[in-house]
């Protein structure tokens, strides 16, 4: 082969513009990106301009090393470089004051995408309703699940005017007025741009409280309840909602604010009810039937065979006044080997929309399907995909606070 490398000895990599080299650094583990300072004077300060950050405990030998790193990292970053996205994970005890300081840094640097996993021992996620966090457009908060621990409270009345995507895993909702035992927590009404809301395994502070989801802008809502949540009251004031995913036990009728119910905008519905016995409580079949009455204008409907079974136990006499699903174009049924779909129920659903397409899925969790759909919908830039997938980071709060010097 003939010689094809010209300029072989010349360092053409270092001639590339900062933005191109930063692209490489952003794809490295954060500590290695900083190490690249040593390459040459060209590379010395580049890492200070990285704006997509992933703080990953497993890149380090020990928690101490990691804490030491994090404290120095923020203080040495270029002060004028904003943080576009941060992934952060800490599964053990973490000083809430310290978390507050990190958040303060992030918000003062216009963070747009935030994905944080905090320990379950935290009492409340330390954002304050006194401030408006203008820059944030997507927020994903998770806690490390532990048995017998009340997950941290997700604060009410937060102001996140630009937030479009919110995902919460294992946070507690609590109503603002603690004397009002029958009250509703109202955590989302300050998010004027909220488009997609995903709530998984988020308990209410006590059985009497409920969750009020109030949003003019909300288009897609997902509520996933663990199998052991028997009581979960929620009401909606979401006039523009078009997609509704629900997995869990329907405990109450779908209700809107002040008993005004209007779910006519809801076009896409997924309902999954886990296999379990409901002996003590009102039959879910009545409630599920009521849901269908409310949602009768939907166009696509995904339902698990267990939910179909439950629906099947509705007395025939009720079905006489059922408005049916005139607009239905697609019916997806998720079958299960344990519990095949009952005969006849599909025909009941499709009676007024015979041209609707019927698709039968083999057993898979509805959650998976929902997640796939959400992933497809996600408008996040492609480059954040890998950032959000990374996880695994621990912090010892006290040591980090001592060394934290960027506040």
């Amino acid at each position: 082969m003939k010689t094809r490398r010209r300029n072989y000895d010349k360092d053409r990599m270092s001639d590339l513009p900062d933005s191109v080299l930063l692209e490489i650094l952003s794809n490295l583990k954060i500590n290695q990106a900083v190490e690249m300072s040593i390459l040459s004077t060209r590379w010395k300060n580049l890492w200070k301009y990285i704006s997509v950050l992933s703080l990953h405990y497993r890149s380090f030998k020990s928690i101490e090393c990691f804490i030491n790193f994090v404290s120095q990292f923020f203080s040495f970053r270029n002060e004028k470089t904003s943080v576009q996205a941060l992934t952060f994970e800490c599964r053990y005890y973490f000083d809430p004051l310290l978390l507050k300081r990190i958040l303060k840094y992030l918000f003062s640097h216009n963070v747009q995408h935030l994905d944080m996993t905090v320990p379950c021992t935290l009492k409340q996620f330390p954002l304050s309703s006194n401030f408006s966090y203008h820059s944030l457009t997507s927020l994903k908060l998770s806690t490390s699940q532990e048995l017998d621990t009340v997950p941290p409270v997700f604060p009410n009345s937060l102001k996140l005017p630009a937030l479009t995507n919110l995902s919460l895993y294992t946070f507690t909702f609590r109503c603002t007025n603690e004397d009002d035992e029958d009250g509703y927590a109202d955590p989302f009404s300050g998010f004027q741009s909220l488009n997609t809301l995903f709530i998984e395994s988020c308990p209410l502070f006590n059985d009497k409280e409920g969750l009020f989801i109030s949003s003019l802008s909300l288009v897609s809502l997902t509520i996933l309840l663990p199998i052991d949540y028997d009581f979960y009251k929620f009401k909606l004031s979401t006039p523009n909602l078009s997609t509704f995913h629900f997995a869990g036990r329907p405990f109450q009728n779908l209700s809107g604010h002040n008993n005004i119910t209007n779910f006519s905008f809801i076009k896409h519905v997924n309902i999954h009810i886990p296999l379990c016995k409901f002996l003590k409580y009102p039959s879910p079949s009545i409630i599920l039937f009521d849901w269908l009455l409310e949602l009768h204008l939907m166009e696509s409907f995904t339902i698990s065979s267990n939910a179909l079974q439950i629906l099947n136990s509705v007395p025939d006499s009720w079905k006489i006044d059922f408005p049916y699903l005139h607009n239905l174009k697609l019916l997806k049924i998720i079958t299960s080997e344990v519990l095949p779909p009952p005969n006849g129920t599909e025909d009941f659903l499709l009676r007024n929309s015979p041209s609707a397409k019927k698709v039968i899925f083999p057993e898979t969790t509805l959650k998976e399907i929902i997640k796939q759909e959400l992933r497809r919908d996600k408008q996040l830039l492609k480059r954040f995909g890998h950032v959000f997938d990374r996880s695994g980071l621990n912090l010892d709060g006290t040591a980090l606070r001592k060394r934290f010097s960027y506040t």
């Binding site: 094809r4 191109v20 794809n27 040593i38 060209r42 030491n68 790193f69």
Partner: protein
């Protein structure tokens, strides 16, 4: 595909041809091999396209002195897949499997030169994967970087950045 591309020796002079919508574009590699490509491929290469636009399409032979005839077919292959909407994770995995470190670097430089954003993003991840957990010395050798720090300066910088050198031990082995 690279094999289908007619390659012939050609002089480096820019030849003027009649502009026509179906006219193929000739890309001339640094070692003077001509690759004829469809105009849609050229569109993927912002640098080439803006050159064509600036001359109102009169010039359809574009010299690319920084890109060798070894690397250019890979770039063309990627652009073809991109136009067809067939850039999948599987394709990218296969694409990168056949490239050695030097080729990855050359393609990265070519992608930057031609301003092909998708390829550049993809290869920056590939490069990051290939230098992951490697020592500073390894990366210097790979990138061809000359260390312009004095030993004193480097020692001082290492000391200042001691907090980042406490991570996982780097791997300094060169690959074959």
């Amino acid at each position: 595909m690279a094999e289908e591309v007619s390659s012939q020796m050609n002089s480096l002079s820019i030849s003027e041809t009649n502009p026509s919508s179906s006219a193929t574009i000739s890309l001339v590699s640094g070692d003077d091999i001509v690759f004829k490509v469809e105009p849609t491929i050229a569109k993927e290469m912002e640098t080439v396209q803006s050159f064509i636009d600036e001359t109102d399409g009169k010039i359809t032979t574009i010299p690319l002195p920084n890109i060798s005839s070894h690397d250019l077919p890979y770039v063309i292959e990627y652009c073809e897949k991109s136009i067809a909407g067939k850039i999948t994770k599987e394709f990218e995995a296969e694409f990168v499997k056949k490239l050695n470190n030097e080729e990855v670097k050359e393609l990265f430089l070519a992608a930057n030169y031609l301003n092909i954003k998708k390829l550049l993003d993809f290869l920056s991840q590939v490069i990051a994967d290939r230098i992951a957990n490697k020592s500073v010395e390894y990366v210097r050798r790979y990138f061809g970087i000359e260390n312009d720090f004095t030993p004193e300066e480097e020692a001082k910088l290492r000391e200042e950045l001691a907090w980042t050198f406490t991570g996982v031990d780097p791997d300094d082995e060169d690959e074959n």
